[in-house]
Structure formats: C-alpha cells, structure tokens
C-alpha cells in the first residue's frame, strides 16, 4: 500500500497497545505537529488509526511571575530591607525601608499589601515593623511559583497556586491533547507493508512531461477554505437587461432600429401628431438644443402632409388641432424624448426605404427628458420601443403580443387600462402582476397609431406600438430602489460588482 509520507510515518510510530501523543509522534517522525495531526485524521478516516482527545489543564508563568521566580517577590525584598533597618526591634519609618528595598512604582503597593497579608510585620501610621519569626525563605507562593517554572505543578500547594493566579503571576490554560492508537486494520496494513508515496503540492509541467505524475500523490488541500477575492470584468446590469430584451424581441420576429439621438422636433413630435403648443413640448420637458439649432433638411412633401394633419385633420371627418403649426418649430433640434422618432423615420420610408406589411421593429435605446432627478427618474434612460405593422390589426392582437412579451419576464395577468396619447387611439396603459411581490404595477404604454400619424407617413395599414422604460423593467426584476446607483457617473462600483447577472 502506498500512502503519503506523513501518513506512513505516523502509522509506523503508532502503537497498537497504548495511546501515543501526536506531538510525540510528530517529533519522532520529524513532522510538523499540524501535518502529523492531519495525517492522523486521514488515517482515522480510513480506519487505520483511532484518535482520542483529552483536555489538559496546565499552569504557565505570566511575564510578571517569570520575573519574580528569577529574582524574588516584592514583599520578600521589603522584609529583607525591614530586617536590615532593625524593624524587628522597633518601628521604622516606611520611606526609609522602601528606599533601602530598591522597590519602585507599582511594586511598592504590591509589596505592602502582601507584606501585611503574609504577617511579615505590621504597617501602621507610616511606620513598619518586621516579624522576626516570619520565614520568607520558605514562602509557599514562591515555592509554588518555582514548581510551576520547573514543570512540577503537582508539587505546588493548591492554595498558593490559586493565590498566584489571583495575583496574575500564573495563568491556567486548557490544552487539547490528541493521542493515537493503531487499530486492527492499522496493524494489518503495517504487517502487509506500507510504502511512502512521493507527495507534491503543485502539478508541474515537468511532472506531466516526464510521466512522474503517475508515481506521486497530491497533497490534499482544504477545499472548503475561502479563496481570495478576484476582480473580474462584467457587463453592466442595464446592458445585460437590454440584451435580454433584445433577445426576446428578436425571437418574436422584431428587427432593431437605429437612428439619431439629436433630432428635429419634426421626427420627435410633429410626426407623432403632438400639437406644437402641447405642454410636453416646452423646453421644460425636453431638451432643446442651442447648437445646432435646426435641422438642415426635411422632406417637403412629408412636412406638408404632417402640417395638414395637424391643421385640417385626416379623412373627411378628421378635424385636426386648433393649435398653431409652423415648420420653424418642426425644424428645431432636440435630444429625443422618446425613440418613437426612430419609428417615425422608419415608417416614413426615409430610413431604410419603403416598408411593406408585415413588419416588426424595435429599439432599446437612450432617450432624454428634462425631468427632476430622483430615485426613479433620470434625465437619460433607455426606452424599449416596439411596433408591428400589418393589415387589420386589432386591439386583441396588441393584447396578445404584449402578453407574450411580458410573460418572457415573468410579468403575467396583463391588464389594459384605456388611456390617452396624442399619437395612438385606442391607447392603453399596461399593468401586470409583479413576479416577486404580486403587486399590480404599471409596465408600459401602448396603442394603435392614429390615422393622423400614419396617413402623412404614407402607411395605409395598421401599426400598433408600445413603449416602456428599461430601467423600470430592471427595477421590477431586481428591486433596485435608486436607479442612480447603477446608471451614471455617481454609480457605485461595489454595487455593480455585487449585482447578480441577468439570466
């Protein structure tokens, strides 16, 4: 049988008849006590050894005790000085005796309190007497101290030991002592012969190439021990969420849109049939640009059709708005407040050419709102935007599509609350049941684009669309309470590092 070196040594040092202390075995086998202990436990696990434990008490000198045993107790010094000063015959001034004793500082108090206790003499009114019959030379505490120092605790007086412990001159310690004894299997193994296998810590290229690995045993590690922290690269949690959404949408047949972040109000608002005096079009709600101030070119036919939709409406019974409309305002540049500007560009045929139904498009991109920064609102956030273009879409198709989408994220029992948007009719706010808390939460806004949106764009089938903030989805899924911790330059790296990955 081949066994690691340490196990072989321990096995050979063990006895079948009597317990042997592991420390003794280690010393004999020239092993570190820890290595011998580990080997003993390993052998015990294999049934070759029995390991027993007992707890031993033993006294150890403290630093102070150690000094006294090499010199003398302070009260002994005091007694000697008192005898020398003649205090056995008549009281002597204490200051004189202390000066002669060479005691200083705390040792004086120690000497005085123990002097009286041990009846070496009396201390009264600043004078000291010495008891001529006292015998400091055979002071039991000193004898006990010497016994501890010599490892003869059994010789020490028990009361004196207690007193020493109280004086802080000795410590009582407990020690676990492990002993081993060979089991029958261990004896058998030894009789059959045990060889030391070479053990290695690290598997090296040499071991592999030379083939030596076949003859070695590997040191066992404590595989349960904690390893050191390692820093690692990690995709941002919002990017992970975005990718999860993109994967879902691509799987549902949607293609991704791409387009400008800084764009003309025409594409952002006017195509969406937002009247130019709509309260949300003031610069308090969206970021208007100082530079560049306006777009270079807008398709003139489209501009005219959009103007007409605003002013005169679409269709024989369309009324349009009673709001002013000028191309100057439409040309003004903004940071987009929604990615629906991309949908308008795509639907108009000006981004990727004319589209024929059916089509499905999406984007998960940044939008900008001049909002107050708070734990749930940022000036920049990601909008999930999607739309389906087909003949004769109904609100039931809209409901079916969004039910499918949200179920991918565990949000079920979707409810459609009729709502108003200038650009869709019918419009719905979407509410769903939160997967963890069971609360009913708002999860998006949706609708079927109005004729006043689609007709100017040259679309003559139905388009249904919806939007949702990615951050909202993330907060729903992860329970983040303050979105500023993850998005933006105030982000906390620790939080990003600790956040679990999106699955």
């Amino acid at each position: 049988m081949k066994r690691p070196q340490a196990q072989v040594a321990v096995l050979q040092a063990a006895d079948a008849q009597e317990d042997r202390r592991i420390d003794d075995v280690a010393a004999e086998a020239d092993l570190k006590p820890e290595a011998a202990t580990r080997a003993a436990f390993e052998l015990e696990a294999d049934g070759l050894l029995a390991v027993s434990e007992e707890t031993l008490e033993h006294y150890e000198l403290t630093e102070e005790g150690d000094r006294y045993v090499r010199e003398s107790l302070p009260e002994q010094d005091l007694y000697e000085a008192a005898i020398d000063a003649g205090a056995a015959d008549a009281p002597v001034q204490m200051g004189q005796v202390i000066g002669a004793s060479g005691l200083e500082g705390g040792a004086v108090d120690i000497a005085l309190s123990n002097y009286a206790r041990k009846a070496y003499g009396d201390i009264d009114s600043g004078e000291i007497t010495a008891n001529a019959d006292a015998d400091p030379g055979s002071d039991p505490e000193m004898l006990a101290l010497e016994a501890v120092a010599d490892g003869r605790v059994e010789d020490a007086d028990a009361d004196a030991l207690d007193q020493l412990a109280r004086r802080g001159l000795v410590d009582l310690r407990e020690e676990t002592v492990r002993s081993i004894q060979l089991t029958d299997d261990g004896v058998t193994a030894l009789m059959e012969g045990v060889e030391a296998a070479e053990t290695v810590d690290q598997l090296t290229p040499e071991l592999l190439t030379s083939g030596e690995w076949e003859d070695v045993a590997f040191t066992e590690y404590n595989v349960e021990a904690d390893a050191e922290d390692v820093s690692h690269g990690k995709e941002h949690i919002l990017r992970q969420t975005a990718n999860r959404v993109k994967d879902t949408l691509v799987g549902m047949g949607f293609s991704e849109m791409e387009g400008p972040h800084a764009d003309a109000q025409f594409w952002i608002n006017d195509c969406l049939f937002m009247p130019q005096d709509h309260p949300a079009r003031t610069h308090w709600d969206q970021f208007a640009l100082e530079e560049p101030e306006e777009i270079g070119h807008l398709p003139p036919d489209l501009v005219e059709r959009v103007r007409s939709a605003h002013k005169e409406g679409v269709g024989p019974d369309g009324e349009g708005y009673h709001s002013p409309w000028t191309e100057d305002i439409a040309r003004g540049m903004d940071l987009r407040g929604h990615t629906t500007s991309l949908s308008m560009r795509y639907l108009s045929g000006h981004q990727v050419g004319e589209l024929d139904p059916p089509e499905r498009y999406f984007s998960v991109e940044k939008v900008y709102r001049n909002d107050t920064l708070d734990p749930t609102h940022l000036l920049e956030f990601f909008q999930i935007e999607g739309w389906v273009m087909a003949e004769d879409l109904s609100v039931r198709d809209l409901m079916g599509t969004f039910t499918e989408f949200y179920e991918q994220f565990g949000i079920t029992d979707l409810e459609f609350k009729p709502h108003y948007n200038p650009y869709t009719e019918p419009s719905f706010e979407l509410f769903g049941t939160h997967p963890e808390t069971g609360e009913v939460v708002e999860v998006g806004n949706s609708g079927i684009f109005r004729d006043e949106v689609l007709t100017p764009l040259g679309v003559d089938c139905d388009v249904m669309a919806w939007g949702l903030s990615l951050e909202r989805l993330l907060m729903l899924m992860y329970g983040f309470e303050d979105i500023r911790d993850v998005h933006g330059t105030l982000c906390d790296l620790e939080l990003l590092r600790e956040t679990e990955v999106m699955r």
């Binding site: 691509v250 679409v314 599509t401």
Partner: protein, 583 residues
Amino acid sequence: MPVVDVDPDELRYLTGHDEKDDDELKSDLFDLGLEFEGWTEDDEFQLEFAPDRLDRLSVEGVARSLRYHYGDDRGVEVPNTNSADWTIEVEDQPDERPYVTGAIVRGLDMDEAALESLIQLQEKLHATMGRKRAKGAIGVHDLTMLKGDSATGETGKSITYTSADPDEATFVPLDADAEMTPSEVMASHETGQTYGDLVADFDRVPAIYDAIGLFSFPPVINGRRTEVSVDSRDLFIEMTGTDQWTIDHMCNIVCYALAARGGQVERVDVSYADDAPGEYAGKTLERPDFSVRTKTVTHDRIESILGVSLDSREVIDYAERAGLDATETESDAGVAYEVEVPPYRVDVIHPLDIIDDIGRALGFNSLEPTYPDVSTVGGRHERSRLEDAARDALVGLGFEDLLNFHMINEVENFERMGLPVPGTDEQAADAVGLADPITIQEPYSEDYTILRTWALPSIMMVLESNTHRSYPQDLAEIGLAAGLDDSENTGVAEHRTVAAALARTDASYEDAKARLQALADAFDKDLETPPTTHPSFIDGRAAEVVLDGESVGVIGEIHPKVLVEHDLELPVAAFEFRLDALE
C-alpha cells in the same frame, strides 16, 4: 396628467346615487379611467386622469360620465338655451388676442361647494386647454353688477371687448381695494405678476368695458366690482384667447357644468366689428355653440380595430352608453354610422376616437388576446452587434463595463481633462475629445449642458466617486459621443466610442497597450501607435491609436494634473477610439 378634486358627497348628489359608498365610487371611477390618488385636506377625492376628457375637470363632468357609466343617461344631451339678450361688441381688440366668447347662466342657487367647483374648473381649464391662459382665459362675473350699454335695440344690452392703454385705464382688481392701472397690476398685484408676462409686450392690453367702465383685464385678472359669490344667481361668462374654437369649447364645458347645477343657459351675441382683427371681422357669432358634430364611422373599421363581430344594435347601444348618438346608414364601405358628438367633447377629432369610446363602453378587458398571425424575421442592427462584440471582448479582458450619461458639462468634458475649451488652442485642435460640443438650450442643471465629445471624462468621474472602493479598477464603456458637424443633416456627428482605463498602483502605458492590442487582434485590425501629444496624457507616454492605417483614437498614461484634479492617488492608463474602426 390632470388632477381634479372631487367631493364624494357632491358626486353622490349629482349622480343621484346616495347608496354608493366611497369605495364603490372609487372603483366606478377607476373603470372610467379616473384614478384615486388620495384624499385632499378637505376630505375630497384627488382624481388623476389622462388629458383627453377635459369635460371631466369638475365634479359636474365626472358625475355626468358616471351617469352614462351607470346607464342612467344615454345618448347626447344638449341643455336648452334661451335667446340672446346681451351682446359682446368686439372692436379695437389687441391683434395678439383677437377672440372672445361668452354666455349667460341664470337662476343658479350656488352653495360653497358649487362655487368652489366652478373656480376649480376655471383653473383646470386654464392649465390645460387654455395653455396657462395664453390660448384661452375665463372670466366669470356677477351679471347683476354689470350695466349694459343699449346696443342692439330697445331691450338689448352690451359690453365691449377692446383694448386699453395700460397706463391710463383704471379699475379695482380682485384682491385689491384701490384703483390700479393694468401696468400697476402687472407690477405689483400678485396675480398680475404671475400672468402679466402674457400681455407685457402689448402696446394696448385686452380690456372689457360695460357702461360703468373697465371691469376685466383678461387674461390677467377680473375687476372686484363683478366678483362672484355664493349669493350670485346670474353669471356672465366671457373668455378671450388666441383661438375661437378653443375658447368656445372651454365655454361649452363651463356651461354644461353650470347647467348641471340647475342654471338656465342664455346665449350671447359676439359681434366682431367690420375692421376687427382675426378671422371673424364683420361677423356675429351666437354663443355658446351647442351644435352637435357628426362623424361617420364604418362598421368594418369598428370590427377590425376591436377585433370582434358586433351587430349594429350593439354598436348603437355602446355609442349611447358613451354619451353619443349613432344612426345606421350606408356608405361606400358598407354599413356605417352617423355618430353625433356632444359639444363638450373636445377630444373627438376623428372617427377613431368614436371607436375608442365604443371599445371602452364594451370593456376592452373583456376582449380575448390573440397573437397576430403574421410572420416576420427578426434581427439585431449591425451597429449594435458590433458594439456587443466589442463589449464582450473588453469584459473578457477584465474590464468592468460602465454606463454613463451622454450629457455632461464643459468643465468635466474639457477643463478637468486638461483640454482647452474648443477653438481656443489651435495646436490641440485635432486632439481626441476636442470637438465643438452639442449644447443644450437653457439647461436647468449646470451638470448637464452639452453632449459629451468623448467618454474618458465620464470614466474619470466614476473613478473619482469610487476612490473608497477596492483596486484595481479596470473600467470601460462603449457609448455615444457627439460633436457639431455641418456636413450632417442634423448638424450633429454622432458616433459610438470605446473608452477604457486601468486604475491600479502599477498601471502603465504597456498595460493599456497590451489590452488594446488584444482588442485589435480580436477584430483582425492592424494596430500602430505612433507617438502624439494630448493634454490629458503625459508627454512621451501618449500615442495615436491607428487601426488599419486610420487614426481613430488616443492611448497613454493620464497626466498627473488630471489625476490630482480627480482626487486619484494612483496612476491611470487609458485609451479611447471610435467603435466603427472595428467594423
């Protein structure tokens, strides 16, 4: 979204449903799209709703909607109106505010609640349709305090909407006890200070006179003489604005609310002088205009939008439950309906809006979802695929991926990076990051005034706010950067930029270059790094990033002055280049 305060007792009284408790009312209101937001201090419901049904901006309108919801009322209801006795003469009114409308409501017996509701309706209409009074402003007066000039005959009485010299005309405004001129009101009266801006540029300000004198200074404030109280039984309502349709419909909503309080509506003639500015010169309009608009909706369209089959009796029933009247007719597209829309409905501007009403009456949530049976092939945009591939490579190299704002300010983007403000230093002109920035108009946060021209400043800010976190901090971001560019249609050149920084006690140029090289190799790009100078980097330790022969970025050790500026106590090596170089 608009919020309206509604007393539940008033609601029970006006709907005639005393048996409804508060919770039932809340639930019924929710079905109508009015969400209970909480209680006011006066124990009223605070209701929030989407800004289409502006006829619900008072308890009277909410009660009307509930009565339709309960089935107590059906179809279009138009209050009776008496013929006109009063005229609003319109002459020399300001060009900037040419339109006026009006109505009289008599026989009211208002209590505090009714008066408060009227005031609230006025305020809410100002905030919404009235565009903060710019487009339309409402004045309500105690009719008995007005003395009409005899204008159109023996019995007729009139007031005049005209203009006045802001420094000469005088009246005692509400909440004041001395005569003031419009200029004084704008300068020192609280309401004048709030709304004075609307007419501050006018040579002559809007003014309404009766036989006694000036009694209203629209859209700013009314005179005290005609102030309405709970004792007022007959009201004169005038509205001025920049659009006749808008003020006429605001007037309709107010008249419907007062009629619901038992008031008798009496028409008013609005007589524009032959030379009056605006579209109606020489015309006399009779207001309020309670005429019913008609729209044609085809049966097919209703069925295709709602996705259900209906028979025409059902359609007509749902329309009536929505407060509309529908009659079946034939059109080119088959069966259709002539649908009448009551005069308070300002949101119905297309047949689709009627289909929405029918859907609401039917109950959208009763519809069974279906997955549309059309097949399309999905896919990612190539730019976003490239961005993802580059991000994966950076993460594989051990970088922590960041997501920063695209908006930043000049100080962070330029100054704290050691860059000169664009245009001030010719030598640095082509340094990475030194583009003319896109600037935001009247920003109200000093932190966000431009779009970033590069991303390293954002990363430096993250390093700065995380000095208490463990190192190494190897950070990277792929995101938007932009600069002015006349050759683009939008005037903006937007690009995705790849930025990375190694912040560690022994960070060096070589560490950064090793990673950049790995990235270049992963995308099969040939990397060269000829020396360059850049104010953000240490001279002699900065290089251009040249990929496949094109200069696309910069790499180097960040300059100590930039590090110290960001409170960093260890070196940072960094690079930034355009994502499209990896295409």
